[in-house]
Symmetry: C2
Subunit: 126 residues, 2 copies
């Protein structure tokens, strides 16, 4: 319920931004190496500087990253807030799922005699 009501509205673009190997690598690099210029991020990568730029723009669009022009280079840094949003969303789903399981278990335990349909019980009660 709670999961359906709006919390996820903004989450999909974040996941989509993280859903590309190259971009995920960029995020990891920015996380491990701190704010870096495009040229530095391109070095060691298999792709072109322009491709890196595009990916950074996608990440920025999702709010995962932010870049400021500093002199002749532009430094890009991780912006952890949206990352937290995604994390919270996954937490929410996980939690809701386990709640479902527990509720189901309780339900099954509360009516072993109600209809006494053999084969559906978890613990055969002697």
């Amino acid at each position: 319920m709670a999961v359906k009501s709006g919390a996820f509205r903004g989450s999909a673009p974040i996941f989509a931004a993280l859903g590309d190997g190259t971009r995920l690598r960029l995020v990891a690099r920015l996380c491990a190496g701190g704010p870096q210029s495009i040229a530095r991020l391109t070095a060691g990568s298999e792709i072109t500087r322009q491709a890196v730029t595009k990916h950074l723009l996608v990440l920025a669009d999702a709010g995962l990253v932010r870049g400021v022009r500093k002199g002749r280079e532009s430094r890009w840094a991780l912006e952890p807030e949206q990352l937290e949003v995604a994390r919270r969303y996954l937490d929410l789903i996980s939690e809701q799922w386990t709640q479902r399981l527990e509720a189901l278990e309780r339900h099954l335990e509360s009516m072993p005699e109600t209809k006494a349909r053999a084969g559906k019980r978890k613990r055969s009660p002697a």
Copy 2:
């Protein structure tokens, strides 16, 4: 470092699968409503049954969901393991980022006199 070494190898496809609004809605529905048939998942959705099927297949490909044919219908259920993988990945990145920040702070505090470059100090030491 740790974030670069392999942990993310399988994460990108998971994020990619979650990176679509329709699919995210499906996940939410499966989470809130439990295992359901395709027809039931299609009801209330704007798209075709076939589209739903395709999305389910994508989710299944990422290991997020699993479906078994039961009679004339096939019941699809959430598979929370891969969800956990994604969650752990985000945890890892977040943690690593805060560690970076703390290390940076310690570093700045440990050398206010080393070179004494004015304007970079956090607390002007009188």
